[in-house]
Amino acid sequence: MKQTAGQHPNRRPYSAAVPGEAAALRPPSFLFWSAVHVLCCLVSAALGFRFSRLLFLLLFSPASHHHHLHNHHHHVHPLRQPPAAVIPFPPPPPPAVAGRVGVGRHGIRVRPWPRPDPAEVARAHEILVRLQQEQRLRYGVKDPRPVIVVTPTYARTFQALHLTGLLHSLMLVPYPLTWLVVEAGGISNETAALLAHSSLPVVHLPFHEDMPVLWNDRHRFEARMRLRALRVIRERRLDGIVVFADDSNVHTMELFDEIQKVQWMGALSVGILAHSAAPDATAKRQQRASEQETSPLPIQGPACNSSGQLIGWHTFNSLPYAKKAATFVGDGVTVLPTKLEWAGFVLNSRLLWKEAEGKPNWARDLDEVGISGEEIESPLDLLKDASFVEPLGNCGKMVLLWWLRAEARYDSKFPTRWVIDPPLEIVVPAKRTPWPDAPPDLPYQTIANEGGHVEKHVSKKVRSSRSKRSSHNKKKHETHVDTQVSEMSGAQEK
């Protein structure tokens, strides 16, 4: 209730005159009280503070010792006695007309240590969790189906980064989850150690071939790994909604709520994070030109007409990026996705089963897919007729996940299980961190680029096995390129 109407005029410190009687007594009592008031004002002026408050405290403070008056005048001096000459203030009339609650100035109750109690905060969070559960039960998805996540992976430098992120996302999913992790190169301790960090039910499947280095090969390889997982789903008759979660992708929680709506096969919009890390001037100009035509972030997904029916696909147009595409892993330039990424599709696992009630006839039998060298590019190849795919996420308008590939060089090394044991022998200065064993010059690099490029490459990544040289080399590395190249190759031969 807001109040304005200016400052409250000099109010008398007592409230509630009893109505009706006040009218008759008014003139003499009014004069008397105003005289008292004037006198007390003079006394206050003499003392330097409003001693009325002090009297209130002394006379009327309630039993609770948490009560103290919050006033800057106030850290006064309960010991200080008002001068004897003062007419003591009469107490406010008992607020007979206002019950227990009186009008007038009340103290502001502050407890001595107004800080949150950790036990209470913990209890409040428990309450919130329980309430949110209840909310989800009441308003969320009815009869949620379990989620089956298919992830192809392999042990490499950035695996810990990506897999941990995906693991944390999946731990937040409020539905029963089964995680099928297909690992290229067989089951490794690295991956097993990472997966052990969660309490999710994980099925760790080995795929006994190594991950190829070229990106084109890799996309096809991953498709074969995913098919392997789909075959396992079929064998074990796992029930639920299959989501293709690549370990470097980023998923929102709304994605998992949205996919509960799928009947047989659904398509989502995927944001493609395909801009390279360090755009140069030409890239920026190109970007601005292309931005005028299309949306700034390329999106793959279903295209709908105005009545919400699927009419086509927004696929990835790789022409603007053609010159800057990565060819091998760890290239340092953009990795481009295929036309339609697997991550943008979800399936009902019953589509994969040999026999399932109501299984539509526009789905191919999984056993026939992928045999005799057939190339599977996207889940649409699992269907005879792609027009039955359901567009999800408000017909593709909501982007619920992002596709990204960020990898270190394919031969880069990392400490096993990210534990540094034994400690490094060589301490290198921070500005240039030459790595103890220099990786060999890449055959692809030398073939693909000319001499000048090689020089630039080497000068950036010059490694020296002896630290003392490095500080000298910093200044003169341009001229000493040749010698260093020879040194490097010399070190290698050792």
């Binding site: 109040q3 100035r105 905060v121 209890r123 428990e126 309430l131």
Partner: protein
């Protein structure tokens, strides 16, 4: 053979009832029926239970005032205007005053606004008095009962005490002419001069359309524990604190400004309504008067109201069991507010949320245009209907006079 048929019919009936009970139970799982001390009356239909006669006052008492300042339609005292419009076209209206149970006087006393939009109460007593003089001279029904079967809507801060400052309001008391009438007001505090016995407390007006447009999906998780936006110190009128809100709001600030569970501040964000829907508890402390539109907003948005106002009487208290729906905290317990709120058992909180989710509860707090069944207009009529039939001694004997027409402050006697 006969007994077999009986057994069969019994079994069929039993299963039918069980089916119905099962359905009810499922409904109960989501919401619960609300019944207060007067019983399960929120959804009663007042049509046929009472008749209201609306006096035709000259437009200087209503239309002209509204024309002068149309802001009166949007502020929190707009109930008096909307009640008038509702009654004009309601089926409970009767044009025959002889068969009327209640008489309504449409006088807009809260429409004299300052430039900043706050109503000035200084002319309201004279306006009311002038209206009553008019109806008592032009119609015989006022003198018949001296107003005991008349009702007035007085939504101002302290009701018919017609002042915004509590001390002055208490001094004035309820306008003497209204001593016998039924008052429909927003102010309610037990043992207070300005609350008459038998008054009907209504919620302040909150614009229903505006609240509807800010609804968010109900599965958005409620992640704010305690929410409040508003003043803690009224620097303009009470710079030292302790007077405004009887120090309770200042106490909330001083104790909980650093508490992460409390999202309290004086900012006025554009997402105020959305934030309330993401909060579990919404504080509704008193200000200069104990009532506030926050209660209505909290109920509409499903946030459990934490009422910090000693002795307050909440709207439609006989129809709505507020103790089961909101949390009441004494002003002296404000420093322990966090302990109190975190120690409420989870089942109790869930039950309160279920009660709040009941659509009839939300409907009862609103004044929608046009009126809908179960809304605040109907609750007012239900309240009036529950007071019927009038007691016999309400009707004065010829020549008997109870009201003293010269009582009250001298300034009130001037004509308006």
């Amino acid at each position: 053979m006969g007994s077999g048929i009986w057994v069969l019919t019994l079994l069929i009936l039993h299963s039918v009832f069980e089916g119905i009970a099962g359905q009810e139970q499922e409904l109960n799982h989501r919401t619960e029926r609300i019944s207060g001390s007067a019983g399960d009356v929120l959804e009663d239909d007042p049509v046929g239970r009472l008749k209201v006669f609306v006096y035709e006052l000259p437009s200087k008492y209503n239309k002209k005032i509204l024309q002068k300042d149309p802001r009166c339609l949007n502020h929190m005292f707009a109930a008096e205007i909307y009640m008038h419009w509702f009654l004009l076209s309601s089926p409970v209206r009767t044009f025959n005053p002889e068969e009327a149970d209640w008489f309504y006087t449409p006088v807009y006393t809260t429409c004299d606004l300052t430039p900043s939009g706050l109503p000035l109460p200084f002319k309201s007593p004279r306006m009311m008095r002038s209206a009553i003089e008019l109806i008592s001279t032009n119609w015989p029904y006022w003198n018949r009962t001296e107003g005991a079967d008349h009702f007035f809507v007085v939504p101002h801060d302290f009701g018919a005490c017609f002042h915004y400052q509590e001390e002055k309001a208490i001094e004035r008391g309820i306008l003497h002419m209204l001593k016998r009438a039924t008052l429909v007001q927003t102010f309610g505090q037990r043992n207070h001069v300005c609350l008459k016995d038998g008054s009907i407390i209504i919620p302040p007006y909150a614009p229903p359309q505006k609240m509807q447009t800010h609804l968010i999906p109900p599965d958005t998780p409620r992640s704010i524990f305690v929410y409040f936006r508003g003043l803690f110190y009224d620097v303009g009128n009470d710079p030292e604190g302790g007077y405004y809100a009887r120090g309770a709001r200042a106490s909330v600030w001083e104790n909980f400004k650093n508490n992460p569970l409390f999202d309290i501040s004086t900012d006025h964000p554009t997402t105020y309504y959305e934030d309330m829907q993401r909060a579990v508890f919404c504080l509704c402390p008193l200000g200069w008067a104990p009532w506030s539109p926050r209660l209505v907003e909290a109920v509409v948005f499903g946030c459990i109201p934490v009422v910090i106002a000693d002795d307050i009487v909440l709207p439609f208290a006989d129809a709505i069991p507020w103790e089961e729906i909101g949390v009441f905290v004494a002003e002296e317990d404000v420093p322990k507010l966090d302990t109190i709120l975190t120690s409420i058992p989870i089942e109790v909180i869930l039950r309160k949320q279920r009660l709040l989710a009941n659509p009839s509860m939300k409907q009862a707090m609103l004044f929608p245009q046009p009126a809908q069944p179960g809304d605040a207009f109907h609750q007012i009529l239900n309240g009036l209907a529950r007071k019927l039939p009038h007691d016999k001694n309400v009707y004065l004997k010829p020549g008997q006079k109870i009201l003293n027409w010269t009582a009250g402050p001298v300034g009130d006697l001037k004509p308006w």
